[in-house]
């Protein structure tokens, strides 16, 4: 009986999981255009227009309530980069949707509360395949970049976006294995630029808050495992890529999970000090992006 119960339970889980996977409607990057030859060319005003707001089914949330004022424009919008993930036995998954849209909206609310920036309450998923839409959102965020596998078009568009003046922040990837995956794609974006540690003295840590004393921000898993680090990512690394004028273009948060700190800020189980630091880093990074 015990054996049969186990098998029944396992089969049920498998069925539910499959059902869930089957209902996720994500863009299939394999089917979308991957031609980078037109990246960076002049386009028309029509092509430069942003698209209408849409919400995607996400890894963790489906049918997340949309705020009433989602279509009230703001100066800053949490723009989440939609990337192609590495292939797995389950196919290429929607890693880009981790924490989405809850963490996006929580950070938006925090920025609205803590700064004078006019913030749109709802986020904006941004795809490189969507014409020139990416250039409408000068601040871009990507999560779990230890699982990304940028297409040629995505890498070219991201590079052009950054060189024009955009800012990219990536977060929630841990350990050496995920670092290798991240850098493999990042090298497609900037084969010629080094990834360096951001010193404490860099203005990015001093735009609103002085963040000389930073600590590792764990994901929600800390409430279960009581381990701050994941995999072999024991030391938090605040890294970046500079432009020719020593301005941070790419802010890399390795061995930490700021997205979870925003997402779970209202969960009493999640330790408050991590959300506090997570928000402060988010605010500092954002204000840096808007001033440099």
């Amino acid at each position: 009986m015990r054996g049969r119960s186990f098998w029944l339970f396992s089969l049920s889980c498998l069925a539910i999981f499959s059902a869930v996977c089957a209902t996720v409607q994500q863009p299939d990057f394999e089917l979308l255009s991957n031609d980078p030859s037109n990246v960076g060319k002049r386009t028309t005003r029509k092509e430069q227009q942003p698209g209408v707001f849409r919400e995607y089914p996400a890894w963790e949330y489906n049918n997340f309530p949309i705020p009433d004022d989602y279509n009230v424009p703001g100066e800053w919008v949490f723009a989440r980069f939609m990337y192609r993930a590495v292939p797995t036995w389950r196919g290429r998954l929607a890693n880009w949707t981790i924490d989405y849209p809850r963490s996006d909206r929580h950070l938006s609310a925090a920025v609205r509360r803590l700064t004078r920036i006019q913030v749109r309450s709802a986020e904006e998923p941004v795809a490189a395949e969507d014409g020139d839409d990416i250039y409408n959102w000068p601040w871009l965020y990507a999560v779990e970049v230890g699982h990304w596998d940028l297409t040629d078009l995505q890498a070219a568009k991201l590079r052009d976006f950054l060189l024009r003046g955009g800012f990219f922040m990536c977060d929630d990837f841990h350990g050496s294995e995920e670092w290798a995956v991240f850098t493999e794609s990042m090298k497609k974006v900037f084969p010629d630029r080094a990834i360096v540690d951001l010193p404490n003295s860099d203005p990015i840590f001093h735009t609103v808050y002085d963040l000389d004393d930073r600590y590792q921000v764990p994901g929600m898993q800390v409430t279960v495992t009581h381990r701050i680090a994941e995999k072999d990512g024991f030391i938090p690394r605040w890294r970046g890529i500079y432009d020719d004028k020593h301005r941070v273009m790419v802010a890399i948060c390795h061995n930490m999970d700021l997205g979870d700190s925003w997402e779970n800020a209202d969960d009493p189980r999640y330790p408050e000090q991590y959300s506090a630091l997570g928000f402060r880093i988010g605010v500092d990074y954002l204000v840096y992006a808007m001033t440099h």
Binding site: R116, N136, P138, T291
Partner: protein
């Protein structure tokens, strides 16, 4: 013909006045004329019933008028009318014969040079005629006027002509000598820009007529000549400048020519132009000022085949390109993308430094671009002198209530008194939405703000240039004007816009925004007091950077030019100037300096010196003295003897503390002036004669001059009475009146 009919030259009637020589008083004449009119009228009235049909109506009146006119003329003749005119007493007066001895008189319009023709005219009888009536002194005219003993001393080699100066000298001589008149033989090619008012007034006061005889062709030869070269004498490093070149030509209409501008050994601008049929045109050349320093700019027109004079195809000016950065204080009330991309656009501009204070949170200010750690530590400057250290201010989305009353006053004085530039941007806390309707912001703005709120809209809108914007260098985002205008048509939409209201009179609208069919002013500029202000009614031009390809620098170019406009004309505490920076065969230079103290009020007790460095590297320091009627203004005169470019560095101190310094440039040319305007300047000669009571004579009419010159009120004169009763015109008039009456009577059948 005039003299035949009127017995005397025209000047007798022009300069004399009518007198009646009869012994009876003139009121009797008037009475008799009226009595004659009445008598004839009564005859007409009494006899009208005997009139035939032919004489009824207006015809009898006409005959009455003719009879009355005849009677009036005869009565007038009885009173012995005459003209009383002042005339020079012969042999008691000096006639100054002045011959132009400049290089332009060596030109040969016909077989002989102009000077040869002048000498021939004098030697063919005119001089003898004059000498028979008056004492004659001969002078030669160049930069000054010198007396000569013989015509053979003329050489037509003087490097310039200064008619005004020469006449001023003669007017001074007339104070002690009985100079009755001046006879000027010249082509009128004056190099001092005309006869000054002071000289004319002096000649008129002395009633000294200048009779002119003009030589040379009156129209430009088959030639192309550069008539003017206008360009700023100061610029910021790397600025885009525009030079205006005036061109005159004759005989080359429709032809192509190449206009070049060079400086520092490099061609800065060059383009093909088409010469107008009208003979005059103004062409513009745009160029980059380049790095700091003093530059000699030369504009040159490539010679065309058939030109008679190639020396007038180039002109030179001096340009001072300022090194060092002008500082702009940018106050922003909220983090936004426009702030980032404005800072980026001018980040490596050699002439602009943006010092910014950004309200990141309600009580935190983020400072960037500061020169010391404590700059703006206390926030927006509270002392005017601290604010006046900047050259320009940008106000972003920051509400009026952010500033104290003292700070808003300081902002107004920053523009009005200090002469700084002020740029307003759009925002949800800017313009009408920021409460700028109240003074002093309302006064400083080049627009009348709307009275409603919610004028800031986060909707996309297209920017478009006005006619003024198309011509303005601020809006020039490409090297070529046409390309620039076309580029504006395809610029990405602005991310937002704000209704700035109505432009004030005197404001210039350079661009508009098309907001869903509603056109609103977008970029508006205005001069205010000593400074200037502008509104750029958007905070969404960052899309011009993000939505255009990497190599496109239009967003950066626009912002650099706009900010250079904001600060380019902002004066320092010392502003040096000279009324004439281009000395053509002239050595006198007048230096001026306007000096202000730390509060930018006129400094009346400053010590001001000008160190002048010449083209050979030698220098001389000149003390400048205060101008009594102009507070804070200092002046000095100096002589630039050597041709070439000069730099004058003017420094000012007050109680030993330096107030500041400024530099100006000027250039002395030698022998260049006579290459230009070689045709006879008949207009100048005629005007000079007319305004002094003389006459202009073409050489062919000059024989009359000896006689007509007599009627002058200068020198030793006497009154002459010229009887006019026996003028042929009088006889003809009487004949005309009588024969008209007879002819009319015959026509109407009443003879």
């Amino acid at each position: 013909m005039f003299e035949f009919l009127f017995k005397y030259p025209f000047d007798v009637f022009a300069k004399g006045h009518l007198v009646l020589m009869g012994s009876w008083p003139s009121w009797i004449l008037l009475l008799l004329i009226l009595a004659a009119a009445a008598a004839l009228a009564s005859l007409l009235i009494l006899g009208r019933k005997h009139f035939t049909k032919a004489l009824r109506g207006y015809r009898s009146v006409v005959l009455w008028a003719l009879d009355w006119a005849l009677l009036a003329v005869l009565l007038l003749l009885l009173w012995q009318p005459a003209i009383s005119v002042t005339a020079l007493k012969q042999q008691q007066n000096i006639i100054a014969v002045v011959l132009d001895d400049s290089r332009s008189m060596a030109l040969k319009d016909t077989g002989n040079s102009r000077q040869q023709e002048a000498v021939t005219l004098l030697e063919s009888g005119l001089l003898k005629d004059l000498q028979s009536r008056y004492q004659v002194r001969i002078y030669r005219l160049g930069a000054t006027v010198d007396r000569i003993d013989a015509l053979s001393q003329l050489s037509a080699a003087q490097p310039s002509t200064q008619i005004g100066k020469g006449l001023q000298q003669l007017a001074n001589e007339a104070a002690t000598l009985p100079i009755g008149s001046v006879v000027l033989l010249s082509d009128g090619a004056d190099n001092s820009g005309g006869i000054d008012l002071k000289t004319l007034t002096e000649l008129q006061r002395r009633r000294l007529p200048v009779n002119t005889i003009g030589f040379g062709k009156t129209e430009l030869y088959s030639d192309v000549e550069l008539d003017g070269f206008d360009v700023s004498n100061k610029a910021l490093e790397g600025s885009r400048l525009e030079a205006q070149v005036s061109i005159r030509q004759n005989g080359f209409g429709g032809k192509q020519a190449r206009l070049n501008l060079s400086g520092g050994g490099k061609v800065l601008a060059s383009r093909e132009i088409t010469l107008n049929q009208s003979g005059k045109q103004v062409e513009s050349l745009e160029f980059n000022a380049g790095p700091g320093g003093v530059k000699s700019l030369e504009v040159r027109l490539d010679p065309l085949a058939g030109e008679t004079n190639l020396e007038n195809n180039r002109l030179t000016r001096v340009l001072w390109v300022e090194s060092g950065k002008h500082r702009i204080l940018y106050v922003e009330g909220e983090p936004r993308w426009e702030y980032k991309f404005i800072r980026r656009a001018v980040d490596d501009d050699p002439a602009i430094s943006v010092v910014s204070m950004l309200r990141t949170t309600q009580n935190k200010i983020y400072r960037q671009g500061i020169s010391t750690p404590n700059e703006l530590e206390e926030g927006f400057p509270t002392k005017p002198e601290d604010l006046f250290e900047y050259d320009g201010i940008i106000l972003g989305s920051v509400e009026e209530a952010f500033f104290t009353a003292g700070q808003t006053d300081a902002i107004r004085n920053f523009v009005d008194r200090r002469g700084g530039g002020l740029l307003f941007l759009a925002g949800r806390w800017a313009l009408a939405d920021g409460g700028y309707n109240v003074a002093p912001f309302a006064d400083l703005l080049p627009v009348q703000l709307p009275t409603r709120k919610n004028t800031f809209q986060r909707n996309f809108a297209a920017a478009e240039l006005t006619d003024a914007g198309r011509r303005s260098l601020v809006c020039r985002i490409e090297e070529d004007a046409e390309k620039s205008n076309r580029h504006w048509e395809i610029l990405p939409y602005l991310a937002n816009y704000q209704d700035p209201g109505t432009p004030k009179p005197g404001a210039v609208v350079l661009a508009r925004v098309d907001a869903g069919g509603n056109r609103l002013p977008l970029l508006i500029t205005e001069n205010y007091g000593r400074g200037r202000s502008a509104v750029f009614a958007t905070a969404g031009s960052w899309r011009w950077r993000m939505q255009q390809p990497l190599g496109d620098v239009s967003q950066e170019t626009f912002w650099r030019q706009l900010l250079r406009w904001v600060v380019g004309a902002t004066p320092t505490r010392v502003v040096a100037s000279t009324p004439n920076a281009n000395l053509e065969d002239e050595s006198h230079v007048e230096l001026r300096a306007e000096v202000r103290d730390k509060q930018y009020l006129p400094a009346n007790d400053a010590q001001v010196d000008a160190k002048i460095i010449g083209p050979d590297g030698s220098s001389e320091t000149v003390a400048m003295h205060p101008e009594p009627l102009s507070p804070g203004v200092y002046a000095a005169d100096w002589q630039a003897q050597t041709p070439g470019s000069y730099v004058a560095d003017v420094t000012a101190r007050q109680a030993g503390i330096p107030l500041g310094h400024d530099a100006l440039t000027f250039r002395r040319e030698n022998g260049e002036a006579e290459n230009f305007h070689r045709e006879q300047n008949r207009e100048l000669l005629e005007k000079l004669a007319e305004q002094t009571g003389g006459r202009y004579y073409p050489p062919g009419d000059a024989k009359k001059l000896a006689r007509e010159i007599a009627f002058s009120e200068a020198g030793i004169t006497g009154r002459e009475i010229k009887e006019i009763w026996d003028m042929p015109i009088v006889f003809l008039l009487v004949l005309l009146l009588k024969s008209s009456e007879w002819l009319l009577r015959r026509r109407w059948g009443v003879v």
